[in-house]
């Protein structure tokens, strides 16, 4: 197959665009599309510093590469999830990428903030792992950006990620999720930082090809907790459609964003407040991350010593349970 642009040897066929490109022309094509997305969706300007959330995977590192190459002021943020060797390897990829280009990488460990790494959070909260992980990431990304004065956080969500999320929300007719699905989550509260997805028009395969052609050393192994995830099953369904009818994923997502999302958004009314514990934005009194941290604290607290043989002055009949409840309550409301 020949490159449609220069006639050289093609490295990637792009069926939905009915074309094939060589390495250098594909890199140019990819960058143009991403930067056009940034401009068209007004994700950020040249003057704004961008915090790029990186995981060590192909998408986020490809995004950082494109933005850095285009001259945007970027700093990377790596959230260390504490998922055994997987996290060690992915952190090393981010550090290597940043060091090679002389870029700054900030690291936040989930264990320091949530009280335990993601595997222990999963056990303590009995939430699905991806749910606990997603909640922690969104909270910590926003807080890191806010604390450091960044107006925007960019994530590596690609076309397949977004189409799969839309597919799942549509299957459940989750109106609230449909209202929130957008490549630009505006800062609708002074303590919310704008969150953008500049790769949302690029397929997962295109992003992987970009990372490969650019020689980016990314982690190929998938997260051990992602196996069997519903989002992956949805991606497989969409890829079967794409194989039969190239362009299906893009049409599904683009059509929703252009014609349907506004209908759901108009009906969505959410009142935002600040968490009484941490001050971050929430729809309730205490934010979901603080509740998660409480669950972790309770689950990881060392078991209490057996009651002493001697009676305590407060150890009146019927008060032991009450004292335990007071102890737990003070922990919940502690700053």
């Amino acid at each position: 197959m020949k490159c449609r642009k220069c006639g050289g040897r093609a490295v990637l066929e792009l069926r939905r665009h009915n074309t094939a490109l060589c390495g250098p022309d594909f890199v140019g094509f990819f960058r143009r599309h991403v930067l056009e997305t940034v401009r068209r969706w007004r994700m950020f300007t040249r003057d704004e510093p961008v915090l790029v959330a990186v995981s060590g995977g192909k998408d986020s590192l490809a995004l950082w590469d494109v933005l850095h190459d285009a001259g945007y002021r970027t700093i990377g943020l790596y959230l260390d999830l504490g998922i055994f060797d997987y996290s060690r390897a992915s952190k090393a990829r981010c550090e290597g990428f940043a060091a090679e280009r002389g870029l700054e990488l900030r690291v936040v460990a989930v264990a320091d903030e949530a009280g335990a790494p993601i595997p222990a959070v999963r056990d303590a909260t009995r939430r699905p792992t991806c749910s606990a992980c997603g909640l922690s990431k969104r909270y910590l990304m926003n807080r890191a950006a806010l604390d450091a004065g960044f107006p925007v956080v960019a994530t590596g969500h690609n076309l397949d990620d977004e189409a799969a999320t839309l597919f799942g929300s549509t299957l459940r007719w989750d109106e609230s999720a449909l209202a929130r699905q957008t490549p630009v989550l505006e800062a609708t509260h002074p303590k919310l930082v704008r969150r953008v997805k500049p790769l949302f028009r690029m397929s997962e395969r295109e992003t992987a090809a970009y990372a490969f052609v650019r020689g980016i050393d990314y982690i190929v192994e998938e997260c051990p907790f992602a196996r069997g995830a519903t989002s992956i099953a949805h991606k497989e369904v969409l890829n079967r459609l794409e194989d039969t009818s190239p362009g299906s994923k893009a049409m599904f997502l683009q059509g929703f964003l252009e014609r349907a999302r506004g209908l759901f958004q108009a009906r969505e009314t959410v009142t935002l407040a600040e968490c009484v514990r941490c001050g971050q934005v929430t729809t309730g009194e205490v934010c979901a991350f603080c509740k998660l941290r409480d669950q972790v604290t309770r689950a990881t607290r060392p078991s209490r010593p057996a009651p002493a043989a001697e009676a305590h002055p407060l150890d009146l009949p019927g008060t032991r349970g009450l004292i335990a409840d007071l102890h737990a309550a003070s922990e919940i409301h502690a700053p």
């Binding site: 093609a10 969500h157 090809a209 991606k235």
Partner: protein, 66 residues
């Protein structure tokens, strides 16, 4: 040819030469879900893989994100 697959990592030996398109169909792999890599090159679906080649089918799907 030797075909390297991932997640889980394994190797498959296939006799004879094939076009990438045929190889993927034989292994029940959708073209949209992998990069086909030979050495330092990406291969398009019409390229021929020779008997003594080693190719990697690198998955591009990641996820589980919430």
């Amino acid at each position: 040819m030797k075909v390297i697959l991932r997640n889980p990592g394994r190797e498959v030996e296939i006799r004879g030469r094939r076009r990438v398109r045929e190889l993927l169909a034989e292994l029940h792999v959708l073209p949209e879900t992998v990069l086909v890599i030979r050495g330092r090159d990406l291969l398009t679906i019409d390229e021929v893989v020779a008997e003594d080649d080693v190719v990697e089918l690198r998955p591009v799907i990641s996820g589980g994100g919430a």
